[in-house]
Symmetry: C2
Subunit: 388 residues, 2 copies
């Protein structure tokens, strides 16, 4: 078979819908869009306005021409300085990542952690805030992409909200897929990227800040020039635009992504759709006799981690023989898990295809698996439960 | 779900691989390729040369900027005139189509037919040739796309080869997918289109002629200016190119399609791959308790027709709920069959996905179907039989 063919069941990047590709392409077709031109400024303002919906917020949303990781750094360096204390909720590889950023700028890091695959107990955050009253901020990963566990952001937000500390959330792999209500829950900063359930190619990060966060940011000396949020606020609110050349194509792509989400029923419908994909996936995995890494109540709607010996050999077989790419383990989970992505432009039939191919690959790898078992369990779940 | 999402399991057009899209796009990127420029003439000569492989021939292959249907007409009007007799092997909607063309120019048509779903008996062709010794040509559909039956072109060619009549073949939906050896079998004209197993968007037809055919063509007054093959031969053999502006993008796409087929193992491997997809599809259909329209020995490797009451309602459900488009019945089979395409850029996992979705849709339509039954039968077939 043609070796170029590939279905992405990765935890990002995901398949970019043709509509988004076209919207991006248009932006650099002749003539290339000029970013200081009023035509683009209108697109930018409309995009920034529409993307508030993604975060369920009324706050200004700032697009950064950079990858998702930059939004995490931007959240920290605009609010916390060297020698300040930051509490990090760490439940996997991307939690450790936050520590890497905080240590890099010389913060004092306090860890509230859980085993990889588990999530943080909000009461532990309360305890930590009491023990570290000087803490300027608490930063939690929403969906820990390395384990597929989803932290209880709502409850952590309530705990942090009782203090003066800011609550920062890494929503890179949860946004659009997992419910997140920035204003209602009282989150101060949400940082995310476009290449997950937002269905964009990589290169755009988004960050949005509460008034409480802006009070801190406005009085804080940001060590970075490029990621100084004060400059973005000034530019976007005055109608001048971003302070530096924006990724015009990705801004146009983001606008189309927002329009697509609206056309297909809105964000609440996206939450339900992703939850249904997660639940049918978990039903299929169980029917194959494989073990899920994360308990039901902490499972992310955007991806599902499955324990498997020699997972990377299995992924290779699935890629080469069935043209389906699955995610693998990171850090200490390397070669020990599969990460099945079901975010963005993915439907029930895509997941059934993945199970059908997984069954064949398991059989060929010597596993005792009944052909059709995973598919039919996932099908049954889909039939018997509501979905969008 | 996003309503733009769609998997094509149609009997053409089929999914156009990204590589072909890119090759086409390049041809009209700035600067637009100039078709009289030596650069394009080189591409054209290389494409014409490479596409001989598709027909297993050493004969000149002529690209026509027109749809596949035009190649059928071109075959007839370049060899047969008004009042000439032509024998047509008719086993479905596209066989009737040939009669439409022949009647249009005033030929005397002799029908050798079989029920829709069945194929022509080569002995009937022999009988017809004896009864109509004045017949100038015999024209047979290779894969009858309306029924998924594959005529026995090799044996019919042997029968016609014993006479002075030319043997013309409509290979639109068989080319690349079903074995066809023009020179070895002694076929005089093969006509085809690009939008089936060649994986191109519609708009390009290909036709190739034996020496025996050229002898007739050279002495025949073609009533069409645009489809006069003599002019194409002159242009292509002298290096001037096609007599009229060619579809440059599709010529570039055809070259990439040939290269893709070469890279993935060549034409014999494509034949095996398509046969394996057909066989797993038939196993899956049987396991669902549905009836195949065509017997095993006459089944095309490129598509499979399945009897189903209210097939068009079922197709609608599959499109809307699972984002998979199946073909429906034509003519007297309208609403009575599904046509499942497995040609071109399609793999085993794509077919399993289709079965998983079909099972759900059958269940929702009130059929007694065991979830996973079609998928697992197709999986088993795939595991237990060789494939490319």
């Amino acid at each position: 078979m043609f070796k170029e063919k590939m279905d992405l069941r990765l935890p990002g990047p995901v398949q970019v819908p043709k509509e988004i590709q076209i919207a991006m392409q248009r932006s650099f077709d002749h003539p290339m869009m000029d970013y200081r031109n009023p035509a683009f400024q209108e697109v930018l303002q409309e995009t920034v306005e529409k993307s508030k919906m993604i975060f369920q917020t009324k706050n200004l949303v700032v697009p950064l021409t950079a990858s998702g990781a930059s939004a995490l750094e931007t959240a920290i360096i605009n609010t916390v300085g060297p020698d300040d204390t930051i509490i990090l909720c760490i439940v996997g590889y991307f939690g450790e990542y936050l520590q890497g950023i905080a240590k890099h700028i010389g913060c004092k890091v306090v860890r509230v952690e859980a085993e990889w695959g588990d999530i943080v107990d909000p009461e532990e955050v309360r305890k930590s805030l009491k023990e570290n009253p000087e803490a300027k901020a608490v930063f939690a990963t929403h969906c820990e992409t390395s384990t597929s566990a989803l932290n209880n952001i709502k409850d952590i937000a309530a705990v942090v909200g009782e203090t003066d500390a800011l609550f920062l959330v890494d929503a890179v792999s949860s946004i659009v897929g997992a419910p997140l209500y920035m204003d209602e829950w009282g989150i101060d900063i949400v940082a995310t990227g476009g290449q997950k359930a937002l269905m964009l190619p990589p290169g755009l990060a988004l960050i949005t800040m509460s008034d409480k966060a802006w009070d801190v940011i406005d009085g804080h000396q940001c060590p970075s020039f490029y990621f100084d949020l004060k400059l973005y606020k000034k530019g976007l609110e005055s109608g001048v635009g971003t302070p530096y050349t924006p990724n015009i194509a990705l801004v146009c792509g983001l606008l189309e992504a927002c329009n697509m989400i609206e056309r297909s029923g809105g964000l609440e419908s996206e939450y339900k759709r992703h939850a249904a994909l997660r639940d049918m996936t978990r039903a299929g995995v169980r029917a194959l006799g494989l073990e899920l890494l994360v308990e039901d109540q902490a499972a992310s709607p955007t991806l599902t981690a499955v324990k498997l010996e020699n997972a990377d050999g299995f992924r290779k077989m699935l890629r080469e023989e069935f043209h389906i790419a699955l995610g693998g383990g990171l850090g200490k989970l390397k070669n020990k898990i599969l990460r099945l992505g079901h975010m963005g432009y993915t439907d029930a039939a895509d997941m059934l295809k993945m199970f059908a191919a997984m069954e064949l690959a398991l059989k060929k790898s010597g596993y005792q698996v009944e052909l059709g078992a995973g598919v039919s369990a996932a099908q049954r779940h889909w039939l018997e439960h509501p979905h969008c």
